[in-house]
Amino acid sequence: MTDLDKIARNCRACVSDTTRLHSAKLDTSTALEILGYFSGRYRRGLVLYGGQLATPLFWGFKQMRKLTNDFDFVVSEPILVEMIGSEGLSYNPEYHIFFTYLDGIICCFTSGSIHGWDIPEDFFTMAAEFKIQGREISVCSREYTVALKFRRAVAGGGDLFGKDAIDIINIVSAPAFRKDLPPLDFGRTASIVLAHAGSGAVSLYSSLFEHLNHVPAPSQDTAMRELTRLFLLLRERAS
């Protein structure tokens, strides 16, 4: 397991107890510039994950909520060490993340684990490549993106954050609306959710329906159908 505290000490990273969540609004062009910058410099060994993926730029089909104003990356340990020097990453020991600001937007980096969750090997092999501003960037698979959101809810005591519920709906429904996306492997998604979030994900499932009003009305029936497909597989495999 990667010891981020030790890396911070060894690399003499600046330690900051609090991360200043930048209030500046992140627009799409700034997002593209930031992604283009990191993917250009560190393409290999860097995987984007988190709420940014539930947008039409990646796995979503609609901008269903306010664009999240941060970026989260998983990087390999050697890349992390390199970035501490080259990008001047600071370390937050409370959240166990390295971070920096680019164009006033916070960009967070971790290696080996995400908030105490050990990153499995297939997290990297399943990552997908997207072309952003002419540069390829690796992004977390849909299966793991959905699983991480369920995992956060189960680990946090059993409530899905509203934004996570909206992101799950967006990602699970997207292939029904976007012909450029391959179909989601519902069976594999269910297995990964159960393996990493546990069977508690099944009982959380109905709370997704609470947020279907964020889906445009003509698309709600399709979104319900896709959510139900995943639900049935989750329940079947959990039992």
Partner: protein
């Protein structure tokens, strides 16, 4: 079948967040509320919140309020601002003969407006001064007087859990709306209705059996979730679970009802002790 959430309002500034983005039944508590209501600005607020009014509930209005043309004026105002076809009213004190006479005066205008006046069903043992309360009685009487615009809103929790499935199988041709919620069958009838209008799964009424019956009779009208205000936070979730159910995706709703009726629920002593579902943390 179209699923709606019901929201009672008393002023144009009322909080609409519980039903934002949903199709709804808009309900007005009192006749005075309705008269003084700023419908124009309210319609704009509804549009801003993505709320579509598909039906209106005017429980206090009835044909007996004919002084100054109040009843037909209410119907005209509803049609003008909300454009709905189905208006649910509660039967008030009066007689069938008097109601028929008064409807004769306004039947032409009602037909011009193209609206259905749907009378809500009530408990048999309830207020006996209401002019009509029972499903069979409404079907037989409305058929007899041949007013095609008089129909029925069947309130599931105003019915008897022992007879409601049989009742709806036999008499359903005039049902245009269902008021759906759950109820505790072992509680005495109370005026504050706290034993009924509970979220699906919070009571012991045969909810799933009733939904199946609606499919079996090929019901095609409105199904309206009508919950007590303290459970409005569940309206969005339950509306979509119910809509998914009628689309053939029945398991999420079944699961939710089973979960809510799980261990512990039966031991609850009074509806006031029912714990609402945990609210997600503020974003």
């Amino acid at each position: 079948m179209k699923v709606l959430a019901s929201l009672f309002v008393s002023g144009a500034g009322d909080d609409l967040s519980a039903v934002a983005g949903l199709p709804i039944q808009l309900a007005f508590y009192k006749r005075a509320d309705f008269r003084n209501f700023d419908h124009g600005s309210f319609v704009k607020r509804l549009r801003d919140e993505g709320i579509k009014v598909e039906s209106v509930h005017a429980p206090a209005a009835d044909v007996f309020h004919d002084h100054g043309g109040e009843f037909i004026g209410t119907i005209e105002t509803i049609k003008k601002y909300y454009g709905v076809d189905v208006i649910t009213v509660h039967p008030q004190r009066g007689t069938k003969q008097h109601a028929r006479q008064l409807y004769r005066k306004i039947e032409e205008r009602i037909r011009e407006l193209g609206v259905i006046i749907a009378y809500e069903t009530f408990e048999e043992a309830g207020d006996r001064r209401k002019w009509i309360t029972q499903m069979e009685e409404m079907h037989r009487y409305f058929d007899a007087i041949r007013y095609d615009f008089l129909c029925v809103t069947y309130d599931f929790t105003h019915s008897s859990p022992e007879t409601n499935l049989r009742e709806i199988r036999k008499f359903n041709s005039r049902i245009r709306a269902i008021h759906l919620s759950d109820a505790l069958s072992d509680r005495p009838l109370s005026l504050d209705e706290t034993h009924q209008h509970l979220p699906l799964g919070y009571g012991d009424y045969p909810v799933l059996e009733f939904l199946k019956e609606l499919e079996d009779i090929n019901y095609r009208g409105l199904v309206i979730l009508e919950y007590l205000p303290q459970y409005h936070h569940l309206l969005k979730k339950d509306s979509f679970l119910l809509a998914a159910y009628f689309m053939g995706n029945q398991e999420p709703l079944r699961e939710e009802i089973f979960r809510r009726r799980g261990p512990g629920r039966r031991e609850i002593k009074s509806p006031g002790e029912l714990r609402p579902d945990p609210q997600p943390p503020a974003l």
